[in-house]
Subunit: 159 residues, 3 copies
């Protein structure tokens, strides 16, 4: 991926910037992945008939119930997504506005998104032994820290 000519700062957050387009695509993938966690939780709730509210008791003779391991596993994975992917969205956007190297930035966006998809698979879909989940988790964490370092160094004088 190459930018044919130097980008004006005003163009960085527009479709004229291929790096922004790459961010858009992979951020969209991650938004969809996160929303699917809600549907996966709902699926587990219906499968194991575990509902947290009186008005959700869609089957006869069941009561509100919490702490089912199948449901809670998906909810922990979902919460972990919120803890990591949502700050990453903001960090990626402001990293973009500092006009980073297109090759570096695009590859970071790709690796981060794939890592979080793997994180979901090994956490919520088909649990496998560690350190698979730790590695998937650490990948996006380190990428976000790297972006933070780049932005902080560029903007340190505006403290």
């Amino acid at each position: 991926m190459s930018t044919p000519s130097p980008m004006l700062k005003e163009q960085l957050l527009t479709l004229d910037n291929p790096v922004f387009c790459c961010y858009l695509f992979w951020a969209t993938v991650l938004v969809v992945k996160m929303l699917l966690m809600s549907l996966l939780t709902a699926l587990q709730r219906f499968r194991y008939k575990i509902f947290p509210n009186e008005e959700d008791l869609f089957f006869k003779n069941i009561e509100v119930q919490f702490d089912d391991p199948h449901v809670e596993r998906v909810r922990r994975a979902h919460r972990n997504d919120m803890e990591n992917i949502l700050p990453y969205f903001i960090m990626g956007l402001i990293y973009l506005s500092t006009d980073p190297s297109p090759t570096v930035a695009c590859n970071l966006f790709r690796v981060a998104a794939v890592a979080r998809i793997l994180h979901t698979l090994v956490y919520a879909v088909y649990p496998v032994p560690q350190p698979s989940r730790i590695l998937a988790f650490a990948t996006m964490l380190l990428i976000t820290f790297y972006m933070a370092a780049v932005v902080a160094l560029r903007t340190l004088s505006f403290i």
Copy 2:
């Protein structure tokens, strides 16, 4: 709502773009709605004297306590907000940057915000039988999926 002249890409995320202004207004409404959930939780905590930390025991002869149904209901509604509204904020912003139809975009912003206000009312304020909450939940979910599809199709070549 009409855009008098074609927007330059650089103007999409500025107040010169009425669609951006519409996003700003409704995103602001949703931010305020989310923050009010914190205050609603605090209200329930004081009403039922349920506090999760030693240093919060503002009344005599009470102990830290969890799992109160009135408090937990508001907290589930709040968590559901984070799971859905926060990804929607990012999705709406990047959907805007693809220069969507002003009429479609503005109506999506309006419907999504009203749906989430209704979601809060039927979940945390005055619980009513299903499927009211499911419908309110599904409305923003489907809108976010639609925006994701629009953005993904526009940026697929930047994978």
Copy 3:
């Protein structure tokens, strides 16, 4: 901090705008602070050997366990961060796009970030009596409400 010449709207969300640079710096600080909460949770988990998943049992003769007060305190602080800082990120960004007074905006960004660092210290690191945490919490809340009011008044006609 002063802007030497009036900003074009297209330049507001670029490094040419010193207010945007100030937002970038302090948003980055808060992203890093939030991610450190994950590591603090992990630290507590290893210190007290409290793990929520079968595949995380890194020590012999332990079982999955929840509700440890040391771990849960950090998790509550982390959740509070998500409830407050993530909406603030979006609110700050759209507040910026309305071209606010540079002095006011920069000071709000600074105070909000410092308040949340203090919030973490008095909640998760070294618990102290109230109202320290309430004050730290209320600071960012009020700043976000102020920004929301500014944006809502500017965009009210686009409802």
